[in-house]
Chain length 158, copies 2
DNA sequence: GATATATAGTTAGCCGGCTAAATAAAGGAG
DNA sequence: CTCCTTTATTTAGCCGGCTAACTATATATC
């Protein structure tokens, strides 16, 4: 019984996420909002004027990724960047009127997608599913963190 | 009770997949294999010399995506492209010796990741989880297909 | 105060997905 | 046989993620 990628759950999850992303895109492209952007929108809506570093950490994304995303969203008029007066290194990000006005539609799109995705789940099943994902995050994170400490290759040759 | 992206299961799944991808990458970068490539490797291992169109369909990826991926894998020596003698439009893709030799490690990495991801699941839970994902694919696909037929915007204004 | 170090952000370049438009080869209509 | 259409692949350009290297500003040390 060799491992077959085509029947693996990991492979299936990739497919689900691709569908999810694709459908979200169709629902929101008319607002010039793209699939990676809602997390930023929501965080700014909750607390405007955060620094890129704060945002990157909270979104679990690298600062370089955010720089580029924010450039696009500035171009599309959803956010603006303003330097922090007290520290010229940090630039703070603010929602524009357009950014704020788009929030509702984005929220609706996400809520709809969530509804569709779990349409066939009972409330209990969905809760279980969510907890299982959290457990998976834990197990994957632990593995990733420990992978090199033990099986490591630091002292194996020579 | 407004929809909050930070507590949505969709958001959580994105995070899980990012972790999954990242860990796979760490496990296989020494073979010059990247996270999108295993599906291609496995399909060729199962049936060598498929056309790019066949592969794209089976992998649920656009032909343009495959073209680029194959270019890289040719450069890294995992596959080769040879034109179909009977039809000069189609180019068939074959595993090289390196491609074949790398299969085992890739398979192991994927199996390991699958093991880690579902480490805390009972066999029944994992099966249920898998079936739930399949159902999700179904519901999302149906929604995506029907989205424009009904709520469509073809005849709504004017 | 001048130099060294740390921190925030940007740029360049890569992988993986997409769409739209361009090639190139096969097939079909006349 | 020539012209038109279909089909397979490629190219260009975009979004989203990453790393590595660079810039600019703050801070710390001497």
């Amino acid at each position: 019984m060799e491992f077959d990628i085509r029947q693996s759950t990991g492979h299936l999850m990739v497919h689900v996420m691709k569908l999810h992303r694709h459908t979200f895109h169709k629902l929101t492209e008319e607002y010039d909002i793209f699939p990676g952007q809602p997390p930023l929108l929501f965080r700014l809506h909750e607390k405007d004027g955060q620094s890129q570093k704060e945002l990157a950490e909270s979104m679990r994304v690298k600062p370089a990724t955010l720089t580029v995303m924010i450039n696009r969203m500035v171009k599309n008029g959803h956010v603006v960047r303003r330097p922090d007066p007290a520290d010229q290194r940090v630039s703070r990000v603010y929602l524009t009127d357009r950014g704020r006005s788009v929030m509702d539609s984005v929220r609706e799109a996400l809520a709809l997608l969530e509804e569709v995705s779990f349409r066939s789940f009972s409330a209990e099943d969905k809760q279980l599913f969510h907890r299982q994902l959290q457990q998976m995050v834990k197990d994957l994170s632990e593995f990733d963190a420990g992978k090199y400490a033990e099986g490591g290759s630091t002292t194996e040759m020579e």
